[in-house]
C-alpha cells in the first residue's frame, strides 16, 4: 500500500458540524494514515471531529472547536466476510447499505436498520443508531464483536475479536458505541450477522387514538409472538398506526400474523414491509428528539408531547423519535424530560433548526456517573482534542 494518499482541502459551510465549519477536511484511506494524522494533530494541538456519511452529525452537540474534520469514507474496505461463521470485518467508512448488499448475496444481514441514508459503519457505531428491528436483534452493542480504534495520540488499539463469544479483556467496543468521536476514531468494525428470514408478513392496525398503542405493544411483548418490529407512527393527541412485522419461515409468519390480529382485535395483513418503516418523523424545520424510557412509559410520553408533534416509536422497546414544532421546542423539552423521569427516561436532541439550537439542552440530565465519564474522557483524550464539547457534560 502506498503511504500518504490522504486528500486535504479547506473546510466549507457544507462541511459544518452542527453549525461549526471545520478549518480543514482530510480524507485518509488507511488506518496508518489516520494514526499519523491524529498524532500530528495532537502535536499541533488541533481539534479533530471524525465524520462518516454525515447523516447524523447533528446528533451530538456542536463542537467547541473543529480544526480538522476527519472524513472516514476513504476507509471503505470490506475486509473479510466469512459466511459460515456469520461474521464480517469492515472498515469504518463502509456504507451500511453497501455492507448489506455484500452480505445479502450470501443470504445474510447485519441486523441494524437505522434509516439515515448514506450512513457508514463508523457513524452507526459512534451515534449508536438503531431502527425498528432492535426489538428482535438489539442494537450496536449486541452485534458489534470487535473494533479497532485510533486514539488522539495515534495509538491503534483493538478489542474483542472475530468470534461471537469472547470475554478476553475489556470490551472497548461498548465504550465507543455512542461516544460520538469523543474518545478517538473508530476505524474498523467486526459484526455478528444473521440469516435473512425467508418470509415476512405485516399487520397494520389503525388507531383512532394513538394512546391505545402502549397497552397493545405490552400485550404483544407478553405474548409468545416474536415480531421483528412493533412500530407506532402517530401524532400527539391524535390518531396512530401500529405496524407489526413478522419475519421467519412462511408457515410461521402467517400463523403469527393471524394471532396478532386476534390479540389486537383487528388489523390488516400485508405481504411486504412498508418502505417507510422506521422513518424518522418531521423535517428540517422541526426539532427531532430521541426518547428512551421503560416500555410502559409510552402512554405518558404521548401525553407529554406538545400538539403537532409527530412520533415514530419502537413501541415494544421504549425508544421513540419525536419531531416537535421548532417554536414549541424550548418550552416543551423540560416538560417532556420531567414526564419521562418516572420512566427512567431521557430525551436527547438529534436535530434542531439553527435558530433554536442554542436554546436547547442537547443531552439533558446524565445521572451520577457523569464524573466517571469525565475521568474516562480524560484518560483517552487528555488534551481534549477529539470532538470537544460534543458530548454529555461538555465532554
Amino acid at each position: 500500500m502506498t503511504a500518504a494518499t490522504a486528500t486535504r482541502r479547506p473546510g466549507t459551510p457544507d462541511d459544518a458540524v452542527n453549525g461549526v465549519v471545520p478549518g480543514e477536511v482530510v480524507r485518509p484511506t488507511s488506518v496508518e494514515e489516520v494514526a499519523e494524522l491524529l498524532k500530528a494533530a495532537t502535536a499541533d494541538r488541533r481539534t479533530v471531529v471524525p465524520a462518516g456519511g454525515r447523516s447524523k452529525l447533528t446528533w451530538a452537540a456542536p463542537p467547541s472547536s473543529c480544526d480538522l474534520l476527519l472524513d472516514t469514507t476513504g476507509l471503505d474496505r470490506v475486509v473479510e466476510h466469512v459466511a459460515g461463521d456469520l461474521t464480517v470485518v469492515a472498515e469504518a467508512g463502509v456504507r451500511l447499505a453497501d455492507l448489506q448488499a455484500r452480505v445479502g448475496d450470501a443470504g445474510q444481514v447485519l441486523a441494524l436498520d437505522p434509516p439515515e441514508e448514506g450512513a457508514t459503519l463508523g457513524g452507526v457505531v459512534s451515534a449508536n443508531a438503531s431502527g425498528p428491528r432492535r426489538l428482535r436483534y438489539g442494537t450496536v452493542r449486541d452485534l458489534l464483536i470487535g473494533i479497532t480504534v485510533v486514539l488522539a495520540d495515534g495509538t491503534v488499539a483493538h478489542a474483542g475479536g472475530k468470534v461471537v463469544k469472547n470475554v478476553a479483556g475489556y470490551d472497548l467496543g461498548k465504550l465507543y458505541t455512542g461516544a460520538h468521536g469523543t474518545l478517538g476514531v473508530v476505524v474498523s468494525t467486526t459484526w455478528r450477522l444473521h440469516p435473512v428470514p425467508p418470509a415476512r408478513r405485516v399487520v397494520v392496525l389503525e388507531l383512532p387514538d394513538a394512546s391505545a398503542a402502549g397497552p397493545l405493544a405490552i400485550a404483544l411483548n407478553r405474548s409468545t409472538l416474536t415480531p421483528s418490529a412493533v412500530e407506532l407512527v402517530a401524532e400527539a393527541g391524535g390518531a396512530g398506526r401500529l405496524v407489526v412485522v413478522f419475519e421467519s419461515i412462511a408457515e410461521s409468519v402467517s400463523a403469527q400474523a393471524r394471532q396478532a390480529v386476534e390479540l389486537m382485535g383487528g388489523g390488516a395483513e400485508l405481504d411486504e414491509v412498508p418502505a417507510d418503516l422506521g422513518r424518522r418523523p418531521g423535517g428540517p424545520d422541526d426539532v427531532l428528539l430521541r426518547l428512551a424510557y421503560v416500555p410502559t412509559g409510552l402512554t405518558d410520553v404521548l401525553a407529554a408531547l406538545p400538539a403537532g408533534t409527530h412520533l415514530a416509536a419502537s413501541a415494544g422497546t421504549g425508544v421513540a423519535y419525536a419531531a416537535v414544532p421548532a417554536a414549541d421546542a424550548a418550552g416543551a423539552l423540560p416538560a417532556v424530560r420531567a414526564a419521562l423521569a418516572p420512566h427512567d427516561g431521557s430525551a436527547v436532541l438529534l436535530h434542531a433548526p439553527e435558530a433554536v439550537r442554542d436554546q436547547l439542552d442537547h443531552w439533558g440530565p446524565v445521572g451520577d456517573a457523569l464524573d466517571l465519564m469525565r475521568r474516562v474522557k480524560e484518560r483517552f483524550d487528555p488534551e481534549r482534542l477529539m470532538s470537544p464539547g460534543r458530548f454529555v457534560g461538555g465532554l
Binding site: 461474521t87 443470504g107 478489542a159 468470534v163 407478553r222 409468545t224 421503560v294 451520577d368 465519564m373
Partner: protein, 495 residues
C-alpha cells in the same frame, strides 16, 4: 505503592480489620485463618491464597464502607460471589480483603410488563428464572453452574451458557447496575430504560472481572418463555459429521437456541456419572434445541433432523416431554464434574474458535494430546465455537500435571492462531492473564488500562487479574485533573 511497603503488612491489615469491625459489625469480619481459609480459592482449585481478612457484606452500605476503608488504607480487595469462577478471578490477595457478596441476596418484584427485575448481586442465577416463571418470563443466560453461581459473578464474568447462540450472553441481558467504585463512590450505570445519554460504562463494566468496582444491584432483562421448545439428541460415528451438521444447520439459516457437542470420552464420563443413556457407541453426540413460535420450531426441527440424516447420524432421539429433555441436558450439564469419574484429575479449558474451523482444530488438538500421551475430553458450545476441552491427568504420575497444563496452554494458542479467543465465558482471571499478551498487542492492553485507570486509579480492585503486567496509573503528560477552562467558564455543562 512504595509508601505501603513501609508499614508491615500485618499491622496494616490489623488496623484495617479494626476499622472494618467498627464499620460493618465484628460478626461480619473474619480474620481467623481457620475461617478465612474457607475462601482460599474459587472453582479453579490449583490457585490457593488465604486472605488476610474476609468481609461478609449484607448491604450496599457494608460494601461502601469496606471498599472505602480498603482504598484509604491502600489495601487491595477482591469481590466474591459464589466462588464458582473457573479462572481464579475471585482468588484472594494474601494481604488483602475478600469481600463476599453472597448475603446480598434480595430479589425485587418482577416488573412483568417491562420484562425486568432488579436483584442484589449475591442472588443465585436460577432464582431469577424461578421468580420470573409465574409471569411466563425467564432469565436467558444459563451457565451450567446456574444452581449455585451468583448474578454478580455472572455480570463480572459476562457469563454465557448453552443458550447463548440465540439469546446472547449476560451483557445482552443486563439493563443497569449500581456499582461501588473502588474509592467508595456509588454510581448507577444504565438503568431500567433501554438507553441513557453518556458513555456505555455498563457495557465496559460487564465482564471486567471485579477490576472496576463492585456491583451492588443489577437490573436484568427477562424474556418471554417461548411457545414451543423441542430438543433432540443425535449420535454420530465421527466428530466431523457432528461438526458438519452444525455448519449445515447454520447454512440453512436456522438459529437454534442451543447446539452442544460432546465427544466419546465426555460421553463415557457423563454416562458413568449420571447414566444419561446417550446413544451407545457414539463417537460424538449433539444436543440440539430449537425454541420459538410453534409453527417455526416444528418446521425447522424437521429440517434439522433431515440435515443430521444427511450427515450420517446413526441415531436421532427426540425428547417427548420435559423429563426427557431434562435427561438429555443432564448429561451435558454434568459433563465437567463427570470427568472426575474417569480421571483422577482434569483441567477445564475454555477457548473459542470460528465455528468453521472446528474439524481442523479438533484434529490438531488430538494430535497435540497424543504427542503428550494425554487424553482430552471435549464438551462444547458447538454453535458458537466455544470449546471446553477437559485435559485428563493423574497427579500421581510425576510431571503429568505440568504436561496437562502445558497442553491446555497449547490448545489456547491454537485458538488464537485460528482467529479465536482465549476465553469465551470463564474469563481471564488469574489463570490466563499471561495469555492476554498473545491475543492482544501492548497498545491494545494499554488502551484497556485507560479504562481501569479511570475507574480505579489506585489499582485496589482485584489487582493482578486479567492483565499480564500490573501497571500504575501515573498521570500521563497533559492529563488535566482540575476543571477544564470550558467548564470553569460555565460553558461545559450547558451542552
Amino acid at each position: 505503592m512504595t509508601a505501603l511497603a513501609e508499614t508491615p503488612v500485618s499491622s496494616r491489615t490489623a488496623d484495617l480489620a479494626a476499622g472494618l469491625r467498627a464499620a460493618v459489625g465484628a460478626e461480619r469480619v473474619l480474620t481467623d485463618r481457620v475461617q478465612t481459609r474457607t475462601y482460599e480459592c474459587d472453582g479453579l482449585a490449583n490457585f490457593k491464597v488465604t486472605p488476610a481478612i474476609v468481609v461478609l457484606a449484607e448491604s450496599r452500605q457494608h460494601v461502601v464502607d469496606c471498599v472505602r476503608l480498603c482504598s484509604e488504607a491502600g489495601v487491595p480487595f477482591v469481590a466474591r460471589g459464589s466462588g464458582t469462577g473457573l479462572s481464579g478471578g475471585a482468588l484472594p490477595s494474601a494481604d488483602g480483603v475478600l469481600l463476599v457478596l453472597s448475603r446480598l441476596r434480595r430479589l425485587g418484584p418482577v416488573d412483568a410488563d417491562n420484562a425486568q427485575v432488579t436483584v442484589e448481586p449475591g442472588v443465585i442465577n436460577l432464582w431469577v428464572t424461578r421468580d420470573a416463571a409465574p409471569h411466563d418470563l425467564l432469565y436467558a443466560p444459563d451457565p451450567s453452574s446456574q444452581l449455585v453461581c451468583s448474578i454478580g459473578g455472572n455480570v463480572a464474568e459476562n457469563a454465557g451458557g448453552a443458550h447463548c447462540l440465540k439469546y446472547g450472553f449476560t451483557v445482552n441481558h443486563v439493563l443497569g447496575a449500581e456499582v461501588v467504585l473502588p474509592d467508595g463512590e456509588v454510581v448507577h450505570l444504565g438503568g431500567r430504560a433501554p438507553e441513557h445519554p453518556g458513555y456505555d460504562l455498563l457495557g465496559a463494566f460487564i465482564g471486567s472481572e471485579g477490576t472496576l468496582g463492585v456491583a451492588t444491584e443489577l437490573t436484568l432483562r427477562l424474556i418471554r418463555v417461548p411457545e414451543e421448545v423441542q430438543t433432540m439428541l443425535v449420535g454420530y460415528h465421527s466428530v466431523e459429521d457432528a461438526a458438519g451438521t452444525v455448519s449445515d444447520i447454520i447454512a440453512a439459516g436456522i438459529v437454534p437456541a442451543a447446539v452442544e457437542m460432546m465427544d466419546a470420552l465426555a460421553i463415557e464420563a457423563a454416562e458413568a456419572a449420571v447414566s444419561c443413556g446417550y446413544p451407545e457407541g457414539a463417537t460424538a453426540v449433539l444436543v440440539i434445541e430449537l425454541d420459538g413460535p410453534k409453527a417455526e420450531v416444528e418446521a425447522q426441527f424437521a429440517q434439522v433432523e433431515e440435515i443430521a440424516g444427511t450427515r450420517n447420524a446413526f441415531e436421532v432421539r427426540i425428547a417427548a416431554d420435559a423429563d426427557e429433555r431434562a435427561l438429555m441436558w443432564k448429561g451435558r450439564k454434568s459433563a465437567f464434574a463427570a470427568v472426575g469419574r474417569i480421571s483422577p484429575s482434569y483441567y477445564v479449558q475454555d477457548g473459542v474458535i470460528p465455528r468453521t474451523k472446528l474439524p481442523e482444530v479438533l484434529a490438531e488438538m488430538k494430535r497435540m494430546a497424543d504427542a503428550k500421551g494425554l487424553r482430552v475430553a471435549n464438551v462444547f458450545h458447538a454453535g458458537d465455537g466455544n470449546l471446553h476441552p477437559l485435559v485428563l491427568f493423574d497427579d500421581a504420575v510425576e510431571g503429568q500435571a505440568h504436561e496437562a497444563e502445558e497442553l491446555a496452554g497449547d490448545i489456547l494458542e491454537q485458538c488464537i492462531t485460528s482467529g479465536g479467543s482465549i476465553t469465551g465465558e470463564h474469563g481471564v482471571g488469574q489463570e490466563k492473564r499471561m495469555k492476554m499478551a498473545k491475543q492482544f498487542t501492548p497498545e491494545d492492553l494499554d488502551t484497556m488500562q485507560l479504562v481501569r485507570c479511570a475507574f480505579d486509579p489506585d489499582g485496589v480492585a482485584n489487582p493482578g487479574k486479567v492483565f499480564p503486567t500490573p501497571r500504575l496509573c501515573g498521570e500521563r503528560p497533559g492529563v488535566r485533573t482540575g476543571e477544564h477552562p470550558v467548564q470553569a467558564a460555565g460553558l461545559g455543562e450547558v451542552f
